[in-house]
Amino acid sequence: MSHKVIGKSELRARVIDKVTGVQKYAHDRKIHGMLYAKLLRSEHARAKILSIDVSETLKLYGVVAVVRGEDIEKPMPRFGSVAQDQPLLADGEVKYHGEPVAAVVAQTYEIAEAALKTIKVEYAPQPSVCTVEEALNQDIPPVNGGESNVFRQFDFGWGDVEEAEKQSHYVLRDTYCYPMIFHFPIENYSCLAAPEDGGVVLYSPIQHPHLLRRVVADCLKLPFSKVRVIGEEIGGAFGGKGYAKAEPLAAYLALKLRTPVKIAMDMDEGFFMARRLAARVDITTGFDENAHITFQNIIADYLIGAYADAAPRVVQKAGYLSGGPYRTPHAKMIARAIHSNTVSSTAFRGFGMPQLVWAFEQQMNQAALHFGMDTLEIRRRNLPYKGETLVPGDIPVDGDWHEVLDKAAKLLDWGKKQKPGQGKSLAVGIKTGIPNSTSNAIVKLHSDGSVTVNAATAEMGQGARTVFAQIAAEKLCVPYQLVSVILSDTGAAPYDTSTAGSRSTVSMGTAVEKACEDVLLQVKELAADLAGMDIESIEVNEGVIRAGEREMTYSQLVQGTYGPNQGDIVGRGQFRGDNTKGHLLGGMADFYEFIIVGAAVTVDEKTGKIDVDKLVSASDIGKVMNHLQAKGQEEGGMIMGLGQAMMECMRYDPATGRLLNGNPLDYCVPTAMDISDEVAGVLIENADGPGPFGSKGMGEGPAIPVGPAVGGAVFDATGVMLRELPITSEKLFFALKDRDKNKSVS
């Protein structure tokens, strides 16, 4: 079936605004009478607060209020989406370096910032934990009380792992580590709250506006109808702007002071907002004599930080798929969410999967060596075919994964002879969409024939706004340029679960598609009415309505019905994910996001320097909605993955528990100089997805398997298997020395 708008590289919505500086972000928004709040943050990883002296601060010109934990009515209002555990401000104790202990509200940002220096806090430091090992050490009292730091444990599995281990020909047991990673959005965190109608309006670059509405309403004991979230165009999020951060406090201050309050963070404060969960993955995999996987036994310990944020959900959902993309007859997985005195962690492109993929894909490379087998061949042997079961009780494999593997191998010139120092590897990335989710959309066909879509999805650069406009233009046969998409306002758009998990094209896209179908049905009804004919006799084709001999445009129909220049036809559409009763995640996956990334590297053995010569990707995405945008997701995702593979890591001082590199000078992300010389990708379209036009989710995928792609390529080039990211030249240098030492000994 050929499409007019879908699959074309239509102009990214609002791109002209973005290249001319017209586009406004949260940081640019001001409201008359607005005050600025800045937060004083803990210098300690864990401490009792003995006193906070603000007497000097209150004397300063321009300071309107200073609020400490002790100034807030008790019990301290707390917030969180999974657990309501985060206090508005530290409540007598701090649990991580960077936790807010007081807020200064002032007439200007600069006054508020300067005033922070006049607050005197007396702390009694306590022993803290910042690694999995420390957190599991029973000698130090648990971060949030209770018996241990294990906040949640999830157990999954099938078959009989113990028996399978006995029957296995070869068993590999290893531990892989993934560090804490900062999302590093280029737009800093900020939000603005204004009192209105007994409640509050919140302007925030938030991925999940309805979830934020619920969390703020629950925290401040307001009805949902009195919290309106207006999601701003987001300047990069990657999961880090999904859940409430400073919004509950901004709302509290705005209500208390009866005036708009903005909390604008600087970039360094961003490091105290959110991060990826660190993980230690113990993985045991068995194989039969033909290198087929016989079982997997996985313990994934995720370090989640001081408060829950979305981390337990990350641990649960990733743990569920920790068996990975391969046929696994017997599996046992334990995934644990472990508290620590570090920044709380949250969703981050891949939702807990990169940590696991790093482990099982590196292990596949290791296993291939044992069998003397090509690393492509061992994957081919274990990858299931379309229709096979992956996780018992969930959707079967929904794509041609072997096609993906073959196309990725071709892009990487698999089998071509390499020079000394060169190596290459493929790695599989996999994750599931969000189960049991809901999206609603409204599509309005106006009396001039143009169209407005209302949806609560956030636009953060992924291109949802463009895709929804394309779907509406395609379905209604109106020119793409005549469609506007208004996003993220809970006061205008109906409920949506989230902008996460690569779900928006499938879920909200379906809702938009159905809303368009609703519009078309109403078009027929109104035309039948107008023409005095049966609805069955009305045809709508290419935006032209035919009622017998009579032809009408949409505009003529609406105005013919409601009068000159009047009226809208309003369509509603809904998407509901599966909600099978008793399913461990609340429902089956909508789709598998499946991708293979390949890397070719050259290693300088003298220095450990790694040049990434080429990165490739092959993705099973069902249907390309917008080619330019889809390609952008692939390339951008791979470089985000490359940062995590080779340079990124939040470092905590083991002695003090303080974050050592929480600033853009010391925390390195890839620059234009760090990208591979070559890049290539293929988007596989078999129109076999559950979304509009056969689409599946995409976007997170390319960031997931870059670690093991580079790690595997380094292994191929040097024989050195690294088990802890990032793969820095320094780390490789010492690993090469060890390799040579062991060689000379043996």
């Binding site: 590289s9 102009l11 990214r12 609002r14 791109v15 002209i16 605004d17 973005k18 290249v19 001319t20 500086g21 017209v22 586009q23 406004k24 972000y25 940081h27 640019d28 600069e110 006054i111 300067a114 999302h183 590093f184 959005p185 280029i186 737009e187 800093n188 165009e233 987001i234 300047g235 990069g236 999020a237 990657f238 600087d266 970039m267 953060m460 650069g461 992924q462 291109g463 330019l628 945008q629 390609k631 952008g632 390339e635 951008g636 995702g637 791979m638 470089i639 985000m640 600033n663 853009p664 000078l665 992300v669 890839p670 620059t671 234009a672 100089m673 990208i675 890049v679």
Partner: protein, 165 residues
């Protein structure tokens, strides 16, 4: 807060401005807060991310590192001044064409850095483009499309120049 204040006159996007600035104010602050030109973005305020890049007398600079009193008599070009009555600049066109814009937050600074490069070197190599943009961080695109856009714009500008001869 420093008490020092200075009245300065300077041009932004070919328009004359006279403003009072204090010694600790940056050019980025003046553009955004005093002139309302919020197309110039502020992120790190340390000269690390490049989001605030503008042209100062034809050279790309991090406007967060330029002190406002020092721009007395200077000419500044910001993202808002790049397009004219004839339409978008070739760089803006190429960024759209190559898909070099996603969230768009780094885009103004990225385009202004590229503009600075092309004014200095109308035919940069891929390596020179990457080097020139090294100080502009983008977390969305992976830079490939940005490099392609700058190459493509450079070619367009050279062709337009040779046609004009």
């Amino acid at each position: 807060m420093l008490e020092y204040e200075k009245n300065i006159r300077f041009k932004v996007n070919n328009r004359e401005y006279a403003v009072a600035v204090s010694a600790d104010e940056s050019l980025a602050f003046v553009l955004r807060e005093k002139l309302g030109l919020t197309g110039t973005k502020i992120t790190c305020e340390k000269g690390e991310c490049g989001a605030c890049t503008v042209l100062l007398d034809g050279r790309a600079v991090d406007s967060c590192l330029v002190l406002a009193p020092d721009i007395d008599g200077c000419e500044v070009l910001t993202i808002e001044g790049l397009a004219d009555d004839k339409g978008l600049d070739a760089l803006q066109e190429a960024f759209i064409e190559e898909g070099a814009v996603q969230c768009g937050f780094c885009t103004p600074g990225m385009i202004m850095s590229a503009k600075g490069l092309l004014l200095e070197n109308p035919d940069p190599s891929e390596g020179q483009i990457k080097k020139a943009l090294e100080g502009n961080l983008c977390r969305c695109t992976g830079y490939y499309s940005i490099v392609r856009a700058v190459r493509s714009a450079a070619k367009t500008i050279r062709e337009q120049a040779s046609e004009a001869k």
